[in-house]
Symmetry: D3
Subunit: 133 residues, 6 copies
């Protein structure tokens, strides 16, 4: 089995996940981890290890591209507005412009319908209002 | 109202849509248009005009990024396998590598679950098998 | 509690359900009931009693309108193509024209995206090809 | 290509969209357009042009039937409560009775489950409480 | 047709449904029934009769197992948070432990993605905070 | 952070995942791993490590209960029929009876609608026909 994309270092998956979560989601990610502490602390560990320690740590696709994919998916599925907001902020963190995020959300009208796109755009409006331009 | 992203030329939306559909989806897109001819020809026109003449013709996001967003959304929603295959081919057409497409699909395990990612990867396997590497 | 919409007769819910299933879904409905016989015969009874004996037997909305609602919902949800085909046939049975069904399906592009609408239109094309015009 | 359903007048799609949005969604629709002004003004234009200027302006299906289809789809998909409320109001605007809207929503229990139907009925209860009977 | 699973007694479906709703959902279920009184009283009856009088009254699967299935499904679908909370309470009512409910919700990360699991866990956190441990 | 549920042994996550996949999904699981070999071998590793090495290896919920949850979720979401079939087989492997699986699938009519339940029951019919009773 080739293992070309996996980032192999001395860091544990958990350490790498913490580092990536900080870099990508910032305070929004930390808040999610904290909120899990009293209900499902193991799930916080899984969240750090698999999405962040494994997937977002892979070579082969840049973080800008990864956030485009995540924003598109969350807006299209339509049932995960809190996570969509976290990832719109994450998109800004990793270098997407507001205009690029708006383009991704508008495009979702084609694939998931106008309501999904509208709700995504309104989520972006809230995030942009809170963040420095 | 600003109109910064819209590509204003002498082309009609329908002409621009035909041009973009050819460029992005190639034969797969033409097959969809042809299949609509006897059931809903007007819908073929809307499909050319709005998604391709309007959205994919906008400045502000490259076609590689647009196909990442579309592949992610279609894989995450999970109920549109024929369209997912068309857009995996489109991703190759606009310059995504096979590895990049696989990265996007694997990432969907995080947001939409392992079955959605698996079904996306199996769609990619079919498309890659048909296309020259 | 008012009970204005419920059709109260001497028929049992099961009898009324059989009658309505025959009228609305015809052979397609009978095939579903038959297919359940060896796996979940009780479910066939529930299917006759609740959707057909209760809901489709209510006053307050005509069968044409009920089939418009069902075709729209099934096309929008996108994961129930066999049932969508049964209800496109049912729509024809209760008096919807092919053009009206196509209008409903095209409209779903707005609410559920172009792939859902396309897959609905292709389902209609199959049903129309089998049915006498 | 036949173009039987499309309403061809001297109005632009945008003008026709504005007229239809006013007629169908009234103040709720205007609020959506206004809310898009600072985040994605182009999307307001697309929303006026494609759903309202193109789809709702077509012959071949009455506005009552179109709103039945939209209410059914939005309730069934379940992730677009703000848009569902706008279209329950729109249904009243184009002549659906409260009882007819309730019938459509109850029917969704069959196709999308009881939670989707319940959440649709509770959305209707809010809209009906605000609107004059 | 065999009828092995159906619980046949002198109770009407409505009476049996009331009894099961009280037992399973307790006050949360009664609140739903009450909320339907002025918008769709017939739907309250259907809700008592089919899900509770028919399905939850069947032999062949215990109530603990039925609530595991319901919690899993509602968390995975992701668009029915009010109903998910009612059924997390119901799970506690029929004997699931908090830890078992958390296990079910964490497992949904695999099948429906991390956002669906997170939103389910946060719903559980709210329910557990209100209920005596 | 408590780590009460995680099964800590000298086995790697990958080894434990292989063992659990064999036990739960049997040949169906091996076929999925094999099918990933040429398109996304890393994803096969993630699939073994996270769902099977982590989640299914946890204490706190039995495998019968875990398969009830998975079957319910996959049937309710409705877009993952291949995975639903794998897990109906898995349910039989870990000790669920055919009748129990049918009960879970019928119950999904309440939460996800009759089409989702029907498609789940038809998947079960196929699996039961292939498996020795």
């Amino acid at each position: 089995m080739t293992w070309k994309g996996r980032n192999m270092t001395n860091e544990t998956r958990l350490q790498r996940g913490h580092r990536q979560l900080d870099r990508i989601d910032g305070a929004g990610g930390q808040a999610v981890i904290a909120a899990l502490a009293d209900i499902a602390p193991d799930f916080a560990t899984y969240l750090l290890e698999f999405p962040f320690g494994d997937i977002y740590s892979r070579d082969g696709l840049g973080l800008r591209e990864r956030e485009i994919a995540t924003i598109a998916a969350l807006a299209a599925m339509g049932h995960a507005q809190p996570q969509l907001k976290v990832h719109i902020r994450a998109g800004l963190n990793v270098g997407l412009t507001r205009d690029e995020i708006v383009e991704v959300l508008m495009q979702m009208a084609v694939y998931a319908g106008f309501p999904a796109a509208l709700n995504g755009l309104f989520a972006a409006r809230e995030v942009f209002a809170e963040a420095p331009a």
